[in-house]
């Protein structure tokens, strides 16, 4: 069955991020001048404005910063309710990287702010793309 939910249109600027996902790596830009992470990726560091940034592979571990259980939806998501949208705060610091994604593999009633979670990957060969979600961290 084809994947019919919205997918990203990768830009040249962030090509390393999407290439990283294919290798099941979650890459985040880090400023080579001041060391801050920048999520979402910006063309220059949001702390010191340096354009000298590198893509580093993050640990993929995070915690629930906030979440919502979606109970009414539309289109390709209609059949999935209830599902969970999470704001995932990556372990990396300084400058928090708070990533919007789905949280899967958990009973919605069991979710709490602060819950340890980790990035998981889904390959979509027919779309030539790998996408990411979060799931509860391995025990």
């Amino acid at each position: 069955m084809p994947y019919l939910k919205a997918l990203p249109l990768p830009t040249q600027l962030n090509a390393p991020f999407w290439a990283g996902l294919r290798q099941h790596e979650f890459r985040v830009p880090r400023c080579l001048n001041c060391g801050d992470f920048n999520w979402i990726p910006y063309p220059a560091c949001r702390t010191c404005l340096s354009e000298n940034q590198e893509w580093v592979t993050a640990s993929g571990t995070a915690e629930v910063f906030s979440y919502s259980v979606v109970r009414q939806s539309f289109g390709a998501f209609s059949g999935d309710v209830p599902y969970v949208v999470v704001l995932a705060k990556l372990t990396e610091e300084p400058r928090p990287c708070i990533v919007t994604a789905n949280l899967i593999g958990i009973d919605p009633e069991a979710i709490k702010v602060g819950l340890p979670i980790q990035v998981v990957y889904e390959d979509l060969p027919e779309e030539d793309l790998t996408v990411f979600r979060f799931s509860p961290a391995d025990a």
Binding site: P8, V85, L87
Partner: protein, 397 residues
């Protein structure tokens, strides 16, 4: 050479019918609103030398759309085929302060801000999968996660409840007082349904936890317009001028893709910045405000508005509401028209909070009139939870 430094006033307001579904074009509602507001001012379209379309259109089309800077191509021609001195482009939430500033500076004398939405659905939509393939969207768009505006505000509410101990019942109190005000506003969409209880809100179906249906604003049709004029013009208008005492705009991403931790910093973000600017320019304190209309797209928004506007401290918004301060007769009657929750939310309602303040300061509030209202404040915000803000402090002689 310097710009003028003259007073600006709101001299005309108009709202069309606001209803769940109006089978007219957006243009038709906008034109009715523009004509109505100009007439309310006692002016004619020939007096208008500036426009503030809340959204763009294009060269040839009346149909409004988002974020194009070509709106003048259509509207300047449609409204009289003559040069205008000012067209204010951009998102709706923060246009009135800069319109007032432009009039004050002498760039234009009479500016009409307007918006309309008819027979057009603006709620969450899927990007239809053409030919059985996944649609492609901007690379960080939350549509990939099946999220939409309500989800986004739900994330905000959930984090707020976690940090400050607020409950769903606390949020429901906002829907309750706002609905009560709507019952006193015959033009409101929901007033005829009568009062709500906290239990009504909590037992309405959940859309995105923790937000229930009745925590969400309406999604209806309607149009409105506001006329801002220079002091010289205002003195000769039909109604008493509602002076713009001060205004401010605030910008900050506060977007789901760029959230900071803390999300609720002590020193605030766009709304705090806009409010401090507006109150500072007006020389008015928070205690001087007789009536407030604060953008309430969701119940959580009102609570955060009260905090960021400086009417209470961070984390105290829910208690402020629960103590009854926002009700008619309270120390800060708020959203007396029923707000976006129970009066009207048609597309981009950013001008509606100001319109209600103008009516209150003119004494036209009817059953919902705040006695002797002399100074009021409006807040509109949007495009992120608190990312773009416009604050106007207004007063009468």
């Amino acid at each position: 050479m310097t710009f003028a430094n003259r007073r600006a006033a709101i001299v005309g307001v108009y709202t069309t019918e606001q209803a769940r579904r109006i089978d007219r074009s957006s243009f038709s509602l906008e034109l009715e609103a523009i004509r109505g507001a100009v007439e309310d001012a006692g002016l004619t379209l020939a007096d208008v030398d500036g426009l503030a379309p809340m959204v763009g259109s294009d060269h040839l089309s009346a149909e409004n759309g988002f974020n194009t800077t070509l709106a003048h191509q259509f509207w300047a021609s449609q409204l009289g085929e003559r040069p205008l001195n000012l067209v204010v482009h951009g998102g709706g939430s923060a246009q009135l302060p800069k319109v007032a500033a432009a009039v004050s500076a002498g760039l234009a004398d009479v500016v009409v801000l307007f918006y309309g939405k008819g027979a057009r659905y603006t709620g969450p939509v899927d990007n239809p999968a053409a030919a059985g393939r996944a649609p492609r969207v901007q690379e960080w768009s939350f549509a990939q996660s099946g999220a939409y505006m309500t989800t986004w505000y739900a994330l905000w509410a959930q984090r707020y409840m976690h940090e400050f101990g607020a409950t769903s019942a606390d949020l429901a109190e906002v829907a309750v007082f706002t609905r009560h005000h709507a019952t006193l506003n015959p033009a409101s969409v929901m007033g005829s349904r009568g009062d709500l209880t906290v239990d009504d809100v909590l037992s309405s179906r959940s859309i995105c936890d923790p937000l229930h249906l009745l925590d969400c604003s309406l999604n209806n049709d309607g149009g409105y317009a506001v006329v801002v004029a220079s002091e010289e013009v205002a003195r000769n208008c039909r109604n008493k001028p509602v002076w713009v005492l001060g205004g401010g705009e605030g910008y900050y991403t506060d977007f789901y893709a760029t959230i900071d931790d803390p999300w609720f910093p002590d020193d605030g973000k766009a709304v705090r910045s806009a409010a401090n600017k507006a109150f500072g320019l007006a020389g008015v304190s928070r205690e001087d405000i007789d009536v407030a209309n604060l953008y309430d797209c969701f119940t959580i928004t009102t609570i955060r508005d009260l905090e960021e506007m400086g009417f209470c401290k961070l984390g105290e918004g829910a208690a402020f509401v629960k103590e009854g301060h926002c009700r008619l007769g309270g120390k800060l009657p708020t959203n007396t028209d029923g707000g976006l929750l129970s009066n009207s939310h048609a597309g981009d309602p950013a001008g509606m909070p100001t319109i209600e303040i103008v009516r209150q300061l003119r004494g036209e509030g009817g059953a919902r009139q705040v006695p002797d209202a002399k100074i009021g404040v409006s807040l509109s915000q949007g495009w992120a939870v608190h990312g773009v803000a416009g604050v106007l402090v207004m007063g009468t002689d």
